[in-house]
């Protein structure tokens, strides 16, 4: 065999990784690399989707199996369940509304960028205040990355940690607080790879409570243009009391 190179010349490392990720062959470091690329490299994500689409017809000849009727009953029950499903159905509804809303952003993207950026006061104990801090973890779809948001009520400040995210140079991500009455309110553009401290407008703080929803949208650089619809929702999260 003359082919000493395990990959063919026309397949770059990234092509190969896309195929391997589509097949879900990877573990460990390579898996982390692939997931990172899924989040940050649209060409890579498209290559994975292309492999998935091309491989899927392999299922054509494979036998199907009718599931027992109980499964559909459980699906219906889960979708109808008041507690969790009200929350999840709510999130779905909110996601859709966010996309359609003409969003009047309270904090313009420019203002968000101008917000003071300080080091995170890591070990400083939170003073006992009327309300305890709230936390939200926002997992980014299909990646192990998450955005961590902590709200400190006594300071009306949020700590937004996007330390695992990388900038793609084409998009920014904007965080929105979903309010029951006025739709989504911008909490500013997320700075990839940084942890920052953001002052929250007084008009918004009353909406930040246990169970409050946030969504993260993908926007052009600088954030959603004023007067236009927000971009696609890429992640969502809920504040919980800690």
């Amino acid at each position: 065999m003359t082919d000493s190179n395990p990959t063919s010349p026309e397949m770059t490392d990234k092509d190969r990784l896309a195929a391997e990720h589509a097949l879900r062959l990877l573990e460990g470091e390579e898996l982390i690399t692939a997931r990172g690329l899924m989040a940050s490299d649209p060409a890579f994500a498209a290559a994975v989707a292309d492999w998935e689409e091309k491989l899927a017809p392999l299922y054509d000849g494979a036998s199907g199996t009718v599931p027992p009727p109980a499964v559909w009953a459980r699906i219906e029950a889960e979708l109808a369940r008041p507690a969790r499903s009200a929350a999840s159905a709510n999130v779905v509804a909110l996601q859709r509304r966010v996309r359609r809303w003409q969003i009047a952003s309270v904090l313009s993207a420019a203002a968000a960028v101008a917000l003071a950026f300080f080091a995170f006061p890591g070990t400083k104990p939170a003073p006992a205040e009327p309300t305890a801090p709230l936390m939200a973890n926002i997992p980014i779809a299909d990646t192990p990355l998450r955005l961590a948001v902590t709200y400190l009520p006594e300071r009306s400040e949020m700590l937004v940690s996007a330390s695992g995210l990388t900038a793609d140079g084409v998009h920014d991500h904007e965080l929105w607080l979903v309010t029951p009455d006025d739709g989504a309110k911008s909490l500013g553009v997320v700075v990839p790879g940084e942890q920052r401290r953001v002052a929250v407008d007084a008009a918004l703080t009353r909406h930040i409570n246990d169970g409050a929803q946030m969504v993260l949208t993908r926007e052009p650089l600088g954030g959603a243009p004023k007067g236009q619809d927000a971009g696609p929702v890429v992640a969502q999260g809920t504040f919980v009391q800690i």
Binding site: D3, P6, T7, S8, E10, M11, D15, R16, A19, E20, L23, R24, L25, L26, E27, A49, E52, E53, K54, L55, A56, P57, L58, Y59, D60, G61, A62, S63, G64, T65, V66, P67, P68, A70, V71, W72, R74, I75, E78, L79, S88, V91, V92, A93, Q95, R96
Partner: protein, 186 residues
């Protein structure tokens, strides 16, 4: 329009309705696709209990993710199959599976009653290039890729099953994938 075309268009339309928040569309999608997707979950998870949990998760998640389907890009049944496969593999690897590894054969013996709708959805795809291309691979390459595809095996699991070093398995699969890519693009 053939029956197969019609079935695909109906499924596309149902996914679009679901993305618009019409929950009743989910039942249509379930009727048309659950046997296929249950088969996919069974092969990956190995037991009926785990596959039923996974199937439930697939359709509940679909309700939230239907708007991620791009009809211009993928056939609806391919997209749904991939969606189910990925959810089932995530489940397999997240430790949510309770029963552990059980011979897949047990799951495979279950009756084969693919409903008509599923068959119609497949007619158009049965000539897909991948069927031809996969046959052009060496047997060990083909077996490894098929096992990874159908059972959700990782490189390490493939190597262990075949009793070969990890590097050897990676090399087989990578050669196979490169050849597959050339053939698929030909």
């Amino acid at each position: 329009m053939s029956d197969a075309d019609l079935a695909r268009e109906e499924l596309k339309a149902a996914i679009a309705r679901l993305a618009d928040g019409d929950r009743s569309a989910l039942e249509f999608i379930y009727q048309a696709t659950s046997a296929k997707l249950f088969g996919i979950c069974l092969r990956i998870l190995g037991t009926r209990d785990d596959a039923e949990d996974a199937l439930q998760d697939v359709y509940v998640s679909l309700w939230r993710s239907a708007d991620r389907y791009d009809p211009a890009r993928a056939s609806p049944i391919s997209w749904l199959a991939t969606f189910a496969r990925n959810r089932a593999i995530d489940r397999l690897r997240s430790g949510k599976v309770q029963s552990g590894a059980v011979p897949v054969d047990e799951a495979m013996e279950i009756s084969d009653e693919t409903p008509l709708a599923d068959e119609q959805l497949e007619v158009q795809q049965s000539n897909a290039q991948v069927h031809h291309c996969i046959e052009t691979l060496e047997e060990r390459q083909r077996d490894a890729i098929r096992t990874a595809f159908f059972h959700g095996a990782t490189y390490a699991e493939l190597a262990e099953t075949q009793g070969v070093p990890l590097g050897t398995m990676k090399s087989w699969v990578r050669r196979g994938l490169a050849k597959l890519k050339r053939c698929l693009e030909a």
